[in-house]
Symmetry: C2
Amino acid sequence: MVSSNSPEQSRERAATVARALADAKRLCVLERLAEGERSVGELSRDVGCQVPNMSQHLAVLRSAGLVLSRRDGSTVYYRLADETVIDAYRILQQVAG
Amino acid sequence: MVSSNSPEQSRERAATVARALADAKRLCVLERLAEGERSVGELSRDVGCQVPNMSQHLAVLRSAGLVLSRRDGSTVYYRLADETVIDAYRILQQVAG
DNA sequence: GTGATGTTTGCGTGATTGCGCAAGTAATGA
DNA sequence: TCATTACTTGCGCAATCACGCAAACATCAC
């Protein structure tokens, strides 16, 4: 099953994904993750925001199903859930002209 | 020129597009417009919201560059700015799984 | 155990968003 | 001109969001 169902639910899920993509810092995170997995600390340094804030952004991306996490010791690594995520980003850029 | 362009500006524009797509009612509007142009009144009836509210949603879509408008007499018709917009919607649905 | 590092959670604030409603503008026809 | 239809704009409210900061939690080395 591709997922459930009514047109309305389908739109709602798509809107949730769009909302997760609707922030420049989160897009910046996705660019980094397109190169491979990264820890919260690395992402927070690269993107230029505080760690707690980054953790929040990652939670948004994760609950929209765009990224996955893995713990190794005390460090949590994040990665893209799917290559499609990058396709989505590219199309946004294309539409944005 | 594809548009002007620091990576940060590019992300900001993409985020604006994503924000415009981040609402179920606006996605519903895009589905209607994929079939052809529609007036504000028609859209407001189809989507099920008040006309002023629809006008606001359309303003969001227009300022993100996703739709264009045309006046014919007292009626304003909206249409998709580009087929790419529908591609973007489809990818969102795909990612939303 | 203690301490150090890395991450998450909670709280407060200022900004933005969606909505309903009223008022304003634009074009048409009597 | 006046009325009607069609749309847009302004205002106020409740909800959500991004952020900074502090505190809590988890893991590891010692």
